[in-house]
């Protein structure tokens, strides 16, 4: 379904004028983007089949893989992100005798930006790359073709559960990241900066708004969709054996990172200006 278009990639390496080559790459990028969006739309429509036992099972599996398997890394990263934030801003604020305000600083930065951002990067690098590698391997060993011949739509059978799992798990994991980050900040505050934990928490809850939380979670939700779409598309359109799987995995991480940065900025702009 998707594979034939990728055959065009073979010709990129032909010796053609570099200006034409750039044009061709742009055309292909748009082409891929369009196809990825079609895949996303199709998988979204299939969410209505979620109640079927098979789909439920697959989705539960993906939720488990996404949620539980990456919890370890996320815990460490979240904790240290909060600690670094507290230390850096705390040291600056101490020069003005304002170190009690690190509560607000850490909380707002975590829930608005760093929580979804860090979670997104970790999930893209761990879960996204794994999805691309798995689907890529399936594509090159003709398993996707076998599904298509059996009239089992890969968008329903493979993409939809992963899309749902990531779109649901990203906000949940982000909440977890936020909590741990804020805790980490509190520990640094009480041990290094002389701000008691209670004062830190009071300060944290006083200035942070609900809107900050919602926007952060909305970001996480969008990041989940981005990661699953990029990973599934790259995986399903893999060609050329093991090398192709490697390329799909690499592309998934790179494109997800870029899109998380760019779209994250755009969402911030949209809601805060």
């Amino acid at each position: 379904m998707i594979a034939p278009f990728k055959e065009i990639y073979r010709y990129i390496d032909l010796p053609i004028k570099s200006s034409r080559r750039l044009g061709r790459i742009i055309v292909l990028a748009c082409h891929d983007m369009g196809n990825a969006l079609i895949m996303l739309a199709s998988a979204t429509l299939y969410i209505r089949t979620l109640w079927k036992p098979r789909a439920r099972y697959e989705t539960a599996m993906q939720l488990y893989v996404t949620g539980i398997k990456s919890l370890g890394v996320i815990t460490v990263v979240a904790f240290f992100t909060g600690m670094i934030l507290a230390l850096q801003t705390g040291l600056e604020l101490r020069r003005f005798g304002q170190e009690v305000n690190i509560g607000t600083a850490v909380t707002v930065v975590m829930i608005r930006e760093m929580g979804p951002f860090m979670t997104g990067l970790i999930i893209a690098a761990s879960v996204g790359s794994a999805i691309a590698a798995q689907l890529g391997t399936m594509a090159v060993s003709e398993e996707i073709s076998a599904l298509e011949v059996m009239s089992i739509n890969p968008n329903r059978f493979l993409v939809m559960p992963r899309l749902v799992a990531l779109a649901v798990m990203m906000p949940i994991l982000t909440v977890y990241t936020n909590i741990l980050g804020i805790l980490g900040g509190g520990i640094v505050g009480s041990t290094q900066l002389g701000v008691s934990f209670q004062a830190y928490l009071d300060n944290a809850t006083r200035y942070a708004e609900n809107k900050d939380l919602y926007v952060g979670l909305f970001k996480a939700f969008i990041f989940g969709i981005i990661i699953s779409t990029v990973a599934c598309y790259q995986g399903l359109s893999t060609i050329e054996g093991a090398v192709g799987v490697g390329r799909a995995t690499r592309q998934t991480v790179i494109i997800s990172f870029l899109m998380i940065l760019i779209i994250g900025y755009m969402i911030t702009r949209l809601f805060y200006i």
């Binding site: 073979r10 060993s141 011949v149 009239s151």
Partner: protein, 256 residues
């Protein structure tokens, strides 16, 4: 019933099929032979539109499958069972789940009926004991047999086999040959078999076609095929020590 009409396909800058036309009549076992890379798998993929021709058409009876889309394509594909060259089993499902997959996804059968059907098909292929095993723990030949069980589980009217016996021991190979033969004789199923094994080709085929250099170099009954004057065919026969009628006839009696 499967008709190739001047099918041309270019892949990676090479013309793999060049205006290829042939017909697979209903109820026959049609064998495609050829050297590695000759385009046998590509030919098979055109029959279920896993590839589309650059020009020409592939028809299944009246249906033009090479141009079909959506629900229409699904309807045509349901008539097929396909065994892929690498078996193409889903790695995270057990043998049982792999064979049960089309039944679960496409039929309204109860779990008991599914269990019964899957068991029956796996028994045909001597794979009943490995039902709970995962594909990665099976040998290549065993995976092939599971792939074959999956291909026939929906009782299709046309079955495509991409090298069903490669990687199998001679005894199991003959088992598969017999299975293909029985499907034709008892159920009138149309089979298209890609193989390197000329002994089995001559034993089960009702027609044998050889592809070379993007063209059909021979398309004949087994009897005519070994008498072929075409040089490519003769070289192919000699490479497998088949030179006279007697040799393969004796082989055939033993096999089937």
């Amino acid at each position: 019933m499967i008709i190739f009409d001047k099918v041309t396909k270019r892949l990676g800058g090479k013309t793999v099929l060049n205006e290829v036309s042939f017909e697979v009549p209903r109820g026959e076992t049609f064998v495609i032979v050829g050297l590695s890379g000759a385009g046998k798998s590509v030919t098979l993929k055109h029959m279920v539109q896993l590839m589309r021709p650059d020009s020409g058409a592939v028809r299944i009876g009246e249906d033009v499958i090479s141009a079909a889309r959506g629900a229409e394509l699904e309807r045509m594909r349901r008539r097929f069972g396909v065994l892929f060259q690498g078996a193409a089993l889903l790695q995270w499902l057990s043998v049982f789940e792999n064979v049960a997959l089309p039944l679960r996804e496409l039929t309204k059968m109860t779990p008991e009926e599914i269990e019964k059907t899957v068991r029956e098909k796996l028994r045909l292929l001597n794979m009943e004991d490995s039902m709970e095993t995962f594909p990665s723990d099976l040998s290549g030949g065993m995976q092939k047999r599971v792939g074959l069980a999956r291909a026939i589980v929906m009782n299709p009217e046309i079955i495509l086999y991409d090298e069903p016996t490669s990687g199998l021991d001679p005894v199991t190979s003959r088992l598969i040959d017999k299975l293909i033969e029985n499907l034709r004789k008892e159920l009138g199923i149309t089979s298209v078999v890609v193989t390197h094994d000329l002994h089995s080709a001559l034993a089960i085929g009702t027609r044998i076609m050889m592809i070379d250099g993007g063209k059909i170099v021979e398309n004949a009954t087994p009897e005519e095929f070994i008498e072929s004057t075409n040089e490519t065919v003769q070289r192919f026969l000699e490479a497998q020590y088949i030179t006279r009628r007697g040799a393969w006839e004796k082989g055939m009696e033993q096999h089937v």
